[in-house]
């Protein structure tokens, strides 16, 4: 109840983020139900049904990542003096955050169920009633237990991930509403994942190039149109994506380091140091966005030229993954900004013009864009090269 009461009077933007989590969870639930519908409609094609189910885990992972990022920025469940005074410490607040996430995701799952039943034609009396009955295999009955399990998947996964991620928050009951000053900046030591990330990217590309020589061995094809994707290619892409996510923090740290090098003025100094401090927080989601974008570019280069490149469900999945990863990136940027409010206030008190702070932020974003955009393009080109050649 407390989670709901706190949610009721939060800022509209925070509520919007929760709503986006619910929407993402709805999308995942819908995709999972579609996979179930296919399985019950085509009992003979069990391999294809399992394949569809497995593909649903990509949007599920993106949704969980987004839910965790939203829970980290949620103002109502952050450790603060008002709740600490009544005995709600970091542990109880973590539980509160997990419950809030579960509530949003369950809301999304309910919507997904209603929409699914409606489009199948099971609920009548509304427009578009049974509009997609053929696509969703309306003639086969759905097992209730399977529906419940699949719909519970997103809430349970998101709430568990939230609890695990927020458990590591610093325990400081007497923290005022903003961050204490003498806390060490977010990362004192540089992130160490860069060599591993580069190695994984290279290994992924090599695996993909090596295995894509054997045409026609499709172990894990994408349902619908992508039916000729060899398993090796997918394994390679996965390795590359993990590598990009691992290399992200290190690359962001390097960007910051270069930005503040060689006799910086105030703007470059502030921008570079802030980027070095935020490298861990921003770099990971940025690497994931890069991986997703390069996969999209590569997929477009491979299949985008056909008459009907992808079906509606694949499109829904792609939109979910793209939207969730970019929303995660934006939310992480917001979290970094929230953590810097105290510094910004100190700077303004020194008489720093607001334009300096804006310029520092813009410089950070530009530096990241300059490094990560060519990287995305390069990885996408290299990933598509062995398949198109």
């Amino acid at each position: 109840m407390l989670a709901l009461r706190l949610a009721r009077s939060t800022h509209p933007l925070a509520l919007m983020r929760r709503l986006l989590v619910a929407a993402a969870s709805a999308g995942v639930g819908f995709l999972l139900l579609c996979a179930l519908g296919y399985a019950s409609g085509h009992p003979a094609h069990s391999a294809a049904a399992v394949l569809r189910l497995l593909w649903c885990f990509v949007p599920l992972a993106a949704t969980v990542q987004f839910a965790v990022a939203v829970a980290r920025t949620d103002p109502s469940t952050r450790p603060r003096s008002g709740l600490s005074a009544v005995g709600l410490g970091p542990v109880r607040l973590t539980v509160l955050a997990a419950v809030s996430t579960a509530v949003s995701c369950t809301l999304g799952s309910m919507v997904a169920l209603l929409l699914f039943l409606h489009l199948r034609g099971n609920l009548s009396g509304l427009p578009f009633d049974g509009a997609a009955a053929g696509l969703l295999d309306a003639d086969a009955p759905l097992p209730l237990a399977a529906v419940l399990v699949l719909l519970a998947l997103a809430p349970v996964a998101a709430a568990t991930a939230c609890g695990l991620a927020l458990r590591a928050r610093p325990v400081s009951a007497t923290v005022p509403d903003d961050v204490p000053e003498d806390r060490p900046p977010a990362s004192v030591t540089p992130p160490t994942g860069l060599p591993w990330g580069v190695a994984l990217i290279a290994a992924g590309l090599a695996v993909e190039a090596y295995l894509s020589r054997d045409e026609g061995r499709s172990l894990l094809p994408l349902p619908g149109r992508f039916d000729a994707t060899p398993a090796g290619v997918l394994a390679g892409w996965t390795l590359t994506a993990i590598g990009l996510a691992m290399a992200g923090p290190g690359l962001a740290y390097l960007c910051g380091r270069l930005l503040q090098a060689v006799r910086p003025g105030a703007v470059r100094l502030l921008a570079g140091r802030a980027l070095m401090g935020e490298a861990r927080r921003i770099g990971g989601p940025l690497g994931v966005v890069c991986a997703v974008l390069s996969a999209v570019i590569a997929a477009y280069a491979l299949y985008g030229t056909g008459p009907r490149p992808f079906g509606p469900l694949t499109a829904l999945g792609a939109v979910l993954v793209l939207g969730c990863t970019s929303a995660t990136l934006l939310t992480s940027a917001l979290e970094a900004k929230q953590n810097r409010t105290r510094t910004a206030r100190a700077l303004l008190r020194l008489g720093a013009p607001a334009s300096v702070l804006w310029a520092a932020t813009a410089l950070r974003a530009a530096a990241l864009l300059v490094v990560f955009a060519p990287l995305t393009w390069l990885v996408a080109e290299l990933a598509a090269l062995p398949l198109t050649a």
């Binding site: 900046p185 006799r263 502030l270 802030a274 070095m276 008190r349 020194l350 008489g351 720093a352 013009p353």
Partner: protein, 245 residues
């Protein structure tokens, strides 16, 4: 509008201000002479910080005037006031308020860099001031690795390094132990005197106020002759407070 006396670097007349309705200042007039150290004393909640915010242009008083060197501050726009703060004023808060990502000398040199000073010159000035305040060994360390007293001295060095006309120190020693307190105050006052910098020092500590040339006692947002309140005996307080709770 009446022009202020010439020898006052800052001059304020009948300042009134309230924070969301709760009154903070009611009719405070104060003049700060050039090069003096003025202590604003009073218990917590007596309006010291609000007065310093008004004088330094961080807050525009709801009524009253503030003049700096015969220029009205209360009519300036936010951009001009910001520039005034950057170029002419220094601020020392109860907490050091350092930028956690920058090391000690960069924090000290930051006001100079913000004014557009070249990197080399700003670094030289920053390191010089750290040496003068006996914290030259911490020049390359981040604030979170330093002690509270050292951090506060960095904040003092940051205020002094920009060579402002006026330094506003709002309870600069509130979070420090006695030894650190004496050290910080002595460095601040001696550096201000030797460089001819005016200091407005808010403090609740009568001992600290003895370092100043002049004292303006405040009580409940009004200037008073003395802040010493009549002692309240226990029995009297109990009789006066006859609420049954």
């Amino acid at each position: 509008m009446e022009a202020p006396p010439d020898n006052d670097v800052i001059w304020a007349r009948s300042l009134h201000h309230s924070h969301n309705g709760s009154p903070a200042l009611s009719g405070v007039s104060v003049g700060v002479h050039d090069g003096e150290i003025l202590a604003v004393t009073g218990p917590r909640g007596s309006g010291k910080t609000t007065l310093l915010h008004c004088l330094s242009g961080q807050l525009v008083p709801q009524q009253g005037e503030v003049w700096f060197n015969s220029v009205p501050v209360h009519t300036m726009g936010p951009r001009l006031r910001e520039r005034l703060r950057r170029d002419k004023f220094g601020w020392i808060a109860p907490e050091p308020q350092l930028v956690p990502e920058l090391n000690a000398w960069e924090n000290v040199a930051l006001p100079l860099l913000l004014r557009g000073a070249p990197h080399r010159e700003a670094k030289k000035t920053g390191l010089e001031w750290l040496e003068r305040l006996d914290i030259g060994v911490c020049a390359k360390k981040r604030p979170h690795t330093l002690l509270q007293g050292q951090r506060q001295r960095i904040a003092v060095a940051r205020a002094l390094a920009a060579s402002p006309s006026v330094i506003f120190a709002d309870e600069p020693t509130a979070a420090l132990h006695r030894a650190d307190r004496t050290h910080v105050l002595r460095t601040l006052t001696s550096a201000a005197r030797s460089h001819g910098i005016t200091v407005v020092l808010a403090t609740h500590d009568a001992e600290v106020a003895t370092l100043a040339d002049r004292t303006v006692p405040l009580l409940d947002g009004r200037p008073v002759a003395t802040v010493a309140l009549p002692g309240v005996s226990d029995a009297e307080g109990r009789a006066a407070c006859s609420l049954s709770v």
